[in-house]
C-alpha cells in the first residue's frame, strides 16, 4: 500500500513539471510583461530599464529565467553553480534556497506590489466558504435526489428530478446568477446583489476589525454572511447538482440490481434498510472517487459565480489579474490550482484503492 502511494506520488512529478513549463510558456507568449508598465513612461531612461532587467534577471536566457522561477536555480550562482544554493546545498531542496515556486515564492503582484502568496492566501478562505457551502449542499441534495430517483425509477418523481437536473445543468452559471440578481436584488430588494459583507457596517472579512465585530455581534455577522451567500450558493447548487445526482442514481440502480440486494430482500430485511445499508453503501464506492475528483472545484469552480456576485475570492482575483495583465498573480493561481488538481486525482486514486478491497495495487 505504502509502495503504491509512493509510486503514485512520484508519478505525479513529471505531470506537474510539464504543467509548470506550460504555464510559463503560456504567459511568456502573452503580450505585456514586467516591463510593460514603463513602456509609455518617458522619464524611465534606457539605463533605468537596463538596471531593472538586471535586477529581476530579465536579461538572462529564458531557460534560466524559468529555472529561477521554478526555484531550481539560484539567482546568485554562476555557471553550473546556479544549481547550488547560497548555503552549499542543491538549490531545489527546501533548505537549499529561498527563491522560486518550489519555496513558496510566487513573486509580487505588478499592480499592488504585494506578494502573490499573501493575495492568494487571503482569497482562498473566501472561495472555500462559498464553494464549500455549495458543495456540501449540492452533495446532500444529489444523494437525496439520486437515491429517490433510483428507487422510484421511471416514476413521476424520478422524471421530475431528471427534468430538473437537465434544465439546471443547461443553465450557464453566469446567466443564472444574473437572473437571480434581477429578480431578488434588483426587483424585490430582498437580498444583496453581490459582495461578501455589507460594506456599510461590517469590516473587511478576516481583518482584525472583523473578528472584533464578530466578537461583539456574532449573530449579526453570521446573518450578514448568510444573506450574501444565498444567491451565489443557489446558483452553484442548481447548476452543479445534476452531474452528481445522475451519477449517484446510476450507481444506485446498478447496486439495487445486484444479487446481495435480492438476498437481503428475500431474508425479509425492511426495504428502508435494504436501500441504506445494502445498496447505498455499495453504491458509495464510485461516488466517493467522483467526489474526490470534484475537490479542486473548491478553489477554482466558482469563477463565473464569483464574477457575477463580485465575491472577492480566487476566481475574482484571476479575472481582475487577467484584465490588468498581472502575470505573477495569474501564474501563482495557475500553479496552485494545478497542484490541487493533481493532488485531488491522487487522493481519489488512493481512497479508491483503500475503500475497494477488489483493487490490487501491486
Amino acid at each position: 500500500m505504502i509502495q503504491f502511494i509512493v509510486r503514485r506520488l512520484i508519478g505525479a512529478i513529471p505531470t506537474l513539471f510539464i504543467t509548470s513549463i506550460l504555464i510559463y510558456a503560456i504567459l511568456l507568449a502573452a503580450p505585456g510583461g514586467p516591463e510593460a508598465r514603463f513602456a509609455q513612461n518617458p522619464r524611465v531612461t534606457e539605463q533605468a530599464r537596463e538596471a531593472f532587467r538586471k535586477r529581476w534577471g530579465l536579461d538572462q536566457p529564458v531557460p534560466i529565467q524559468y529555472c529561477r522561477w521554478l526555484g531550481v536555480c539560484n539567482p546568485n550562482g554562476e555557471g553550473l553553480g546556479v544549481f547550488i544554493g547560497d548555503n552549499g546545498w542543491p538549490n531545489f531542496l527546501p533548505w537549499g534556497g529561498d527563491n522560486g515556486i518550489l519555496h513558496g515564492d510566487f513573486g509580487y503582484s505588478i499592480n499592488s506590489g504585494r506578494p502573490v502568496a499573501d493575495i492568494v492566501g487571503e482569497r482562498v478562505p473566501r472561495t472555500l466558504i462559498l464553494a464549500g457551502t455549495a458543495l456540501v449542499l449540492w452533495l446532500l441534495l444529489a444523494f437525496l435526489t439520486g437515491v429517490i430517483g433510483a428507487v422510484r425509477r421511471y416514476g413521476k418523481i424520478d422524471t421530475a428530478i431528471t427534468v430538473f437536473n437537465y434544465v439546471g445543468f443547461s443553465f450557464p452559471t453566469f446567466w443564472l446568477g444574473l437572473m437571480l440578481i434581477v429578480v431578488f436584488a434588483a426587483q424585490l430588494h430582498l437580498l444583496p446583489a453581490g459582495g461578501m459583507w455589507d460594506t456599510r457596517n461590517v469590516p473587511v472579512f478576516a481583518s482584525d476589525e472583523y473578528w472584533a465585530y464578530v466578537g461583539q455581534e456574532p449573530i449579526a455577522a453570521l446573518v450578514d454572511l448568510i444573506r450574501h451567500l444565498i444567491l451565489p450558493v443557489t446558483t452553484l447548487v442548481v447548476v452543479s447538482v445534476a452531474a452528481d445526482s445522475r451519477f449517484i442514481r446510476a450507481a444506485m440502480i446498478d447496486s439495487l440490481s445486484q444479487d446481495y440486494v435480492r438476498t437481503a430482500r428475500a431474508k425479509g430485511v425492511p426495504e428502508r434498510r435494504v436501500i441504506t445499508r445494502h445498496a447505498l453503501r455499495n453504491a458509495l464506492l464510485p461516488v466517493v472517487t467522483n467526489i474526490g475528483l470534484e475537490l479542486p472545484f473548491l478553489f477554482t469552480g466558482a469563477i463565473a459565480t464569483e464574477t457575477i456576485f463580485s465575491w472577492p475570492g480566487m476566481g475574482n482575483a484571476f479575472i481582475v489579474a487577467t484584465a490588468n495583465f498581472d502575470y505573477p498573480i495569474l501564474m501563482g493561481i495557475l500553479v496552485i490550482t494545478a497542484v490541487i488538481v493533481v493532488g485531488a486525482n491522487l487522493l481519489a486514486d488512493i481512497v479508491y484503492a483503500i475503500v475497494d478491497p477488489r483493487i490490487s495495487y501491486g
Binding site: T15, T19, A29, Q187, T307
Partner: protein, 320 residues
C-alpha cells in the same frame, strides 16, 4: 391484408417453414429485413422521447441560425433618431416581442437571432476541429502505445491539471484580439483533451480484438487498420462526446465574451449581447438579459437531451 412481421436477420422463409411447419400458409407474411448498425441506432433514437424533443429543439435553433438572420437582418449601423431614445429601452410588445435594448434601442429579437448564428457557428466549428485533433492524438497514442503514448498522455495530463477556463480566458484576452475566428480556434485548441483520452481508451480495447489481429496477420497496413477497422468502431463515443462538447463551447464562449475578454462587440454573439445588458439591469431592463440567456439554455438543453439519446442509441449492446 396480412399482418407483417418484421424479423431482423433471423432466418429465411424456408428455414422458418422447416422449423415450424404449422405457420406454412398462415395468414401473414414474414418479411425479412436486415438493418445496418446505423439503422438500428436510428430506431433506438426515435424511441427515446427526450432525444426526439432535444433534437427538435436543437434543429430548430440550427434552422434559426441558418435562416433567421436572412429574415431578421441585424444592422449594427442603424441607430434610431435621438428623440426616440428611451434610456432604459422598451419592454416586450407585440411589434417587438423581445423588447428593445437600453441605450441604442436595438431590437432584442434581432440580436438573439443573430447571436444564435454566431454562437452556434463558434460552438460547432470549435468542436469539429477539437474532435479531429482529439481523435488523431488519442488514436495514435492508443494504437501505437509505448513511448509515444506515454509522452502524449503526459501532455494531456499536464494540460488537464490546468483549469482550462482560466487558460482560455488568458488566451482570449491576450491573443484573441477580439476576432471571432481566433477565439474559436482557442476553444478548439483546448477542447480536444477529453476526446483524446476517450479515443485512446477505446483504441486500447479495440486493438486487442480478433479482427484487428486478423487484419494485421493478413498484412494490412497500420493506416488502413486505423481508418477502416478501428475508427469506424470507435465513432459512437466520439459522436456523443462531440455533441455534448458543442454545449460546453457555447457556454464557455458566452462567458468569455460576457466578461469582455472574447469576441469583439461588433460580432453579436449571445455572450456579447449579455455583456451589453449588464449595465442596464439596474434600471429594470430585464428583457435584454433574459432572452439571449434563454436562447443559450434552449440550445444547450437540446444538445444535452440529444447527446443522451445518442449515447443510448449508439450503444451496440442496447436492445431495441
Amino acid at each position: 391484408m396480412a399482418d407483417t412481421v418484421k424479423a431482423h436477420q433471423l432466418a429465411t422463409p424456408a428455414e422458418i417453414e422447416e422449423l415450424n411447419p404449422e405457420i406454412v400458409g398462415a395468414d401473414y407474411d414474414v418479411q425479412l429485413e436486415s438493418l445496418s448498425q446505423w439503422q438500428l441506432a436510428w430506431r433506438r433514437f426515435k424511441r427515446h422521447r427526450m432525444a426526439v424533443i432535444g433534437s427538435t429543439l436543437f434543429l430548430t435553433m440550427v434552422a434559426i441560425a441558418i435562416f433567421g438572420p436572412i429574415l431578421v437582418p441585424y444592422d449594427f449601423y442603424k441607430a434610431p433618431p435621438p428623440d426616440e431614445i428611451v434610456y432604459a429601452g422598451r419592454p416586450p410588445s407585440i411589434a417587438r416581442p423581445f423588447g428593445e435594448t437600453g441605450g441604442l434601442q436595438r431590437d432584442v429579437f434581432a440580436l438573439v437571432i443573430n447571436g444564435v448564428r454566431w454562437s452556434m457557428l463558434i460552438g460547432v466549428l470549435a468542436t469539429v476541429i477539437s474532435s479531429v485533433i482529439g481523435t488523431i492524438v488519442g488514436g495514435v497514442a492508443g494504437y501505437f502505445g509505448g513511448f509515444l503514448d506515454t509522452v502524449l498522455m503526459r501532455i494531456v495530463d499536464a494540460l488537464l491539471a490546468l483549469p482550462l477556463l482560466f487558460v482560455i480566458l488568458v488566451f482570449t484576452k491576450f491573443l484573441g484580439a477580439g476576432n471571432w475566428f481566433t477565439v474559436m480556434i482557442i476553444f478548439a485548441l483546448f477542447g480536444w483533451l477529453g476526446i483524446a483520452r476517450l479515443v485512446r481508451s477505446v483504441m486500447l480495447s479495440l486493438r486487442e480484438e480478433d479482427y484487428v489481429d486478423a487484419a494485421r496477420a493478413a498484412g494490412v497496413s497500420s493506416a488502413r487498420i486505423i481508418f477502416r477497422h478501428l475508427l469506424p468502431n470507435s465513432l459512437s463515443p466520439i459522436i456523443v462526446a462531440a455533441t455534448l462538447g458543442v454545449a460546453g463551447v457555447i457556454i464557455g464562449e458566452a462567458f468569455v465574451s460576457f466578461l469582455g475578454f472574447g469576441v469583439d462587440i461588433q460580432t453579436p454573439t449571445l455572450g456579447n449581447t449579455l455583456n451589453g445588458a449588464l449595465t442596464f439591469i439596474s434600471v429594470g431592463n430585464w428583457w435584454w438579459a433574459f432572452f439571449p440567456g434563454m436562447a443559450i439554455v434552449i440550445i444547450v438543453l437540446g444538445i444535452n437531451f440529444m447527446g443522451d439519446g445518442l449515447r443510448d442509441a449508439l450503444d451496440p449492446r442496447a436492445r431495441i
